[in-house]
Amino acid sequence: MRELFPLAENEHVVMRLRKHWFIFVEHVVVYVFFLALPFMLWAVQRRFFPELFLDPTSFGNIVIALTFSAYLLFVLQQFFTSWVEYALDVWVVTNLRVMNIDQRTLFHRRVSELALYNIQDVTSETKGPLATFLGYGTIVVETAGEQEHFVFPNLPRPEVTAKQMMELSRTSTPPTAKNVSTV
């Protein structure tokens, strides 16, 4: 915040939003499966082909050990990147504006902000059984003029957040200087 968006004197943070935890759990399930896969293959080999790879200094053993290691390192690295993209994807709502810090890929960051007084309509959408039971959904903020719509996917408690944002926009007044920008 202090680095990406210096706050004005009369500005304070009202909400700090990030994606629902279940969104990351979906990634965890996939990566845990890929991490477990070589161990499962190893168990199958030990169970059904115990005569293979008995000599630890053999060509086959060394190649398999290095391939196994490289595979695990690659999956761990991808898992870590997935976590960074989840953790650094943040929406910050202050009493004056909404800021979106979107970590799309490791070297692709999109930072945008929207003045609250520009908000005309806030829509929340909860779609699907999992989203309904776990309470997450999408918020679409429509603005005045020709600016793009702001979409906040997979936020927890979208109805409550949408209502709070709409109330904040009603109490917000246009500043003297233009403070809407997209980076």
Partner: protein
Amino acid sequence: MNIPVFALLIPYAIFLVFILIRLFSNMYHVLRYAYLHRASLVMASLFLAAVAVVLTVTIQAVPPTTWGTTTRVTLPSTSLQPNSLDLP
């Protein structure tokens, strides 16, 4: 055919450099923007610990004492048993 173990380690080392660059890039993001998510520091520590475990096990599987040696490529025998094609 004998192959030096060192030759097998070269592609692994190149791949390892690629992985380490990605890991340090991730760490850079986590440390720089740690104020956005405090738990990211804990998660980053766990990932680094996991990477350290994988590297440690790899070094145990292919110890440095073997890096200067050669390894023999032995293919499994495919010769048929004398009576395996006997028809009844």
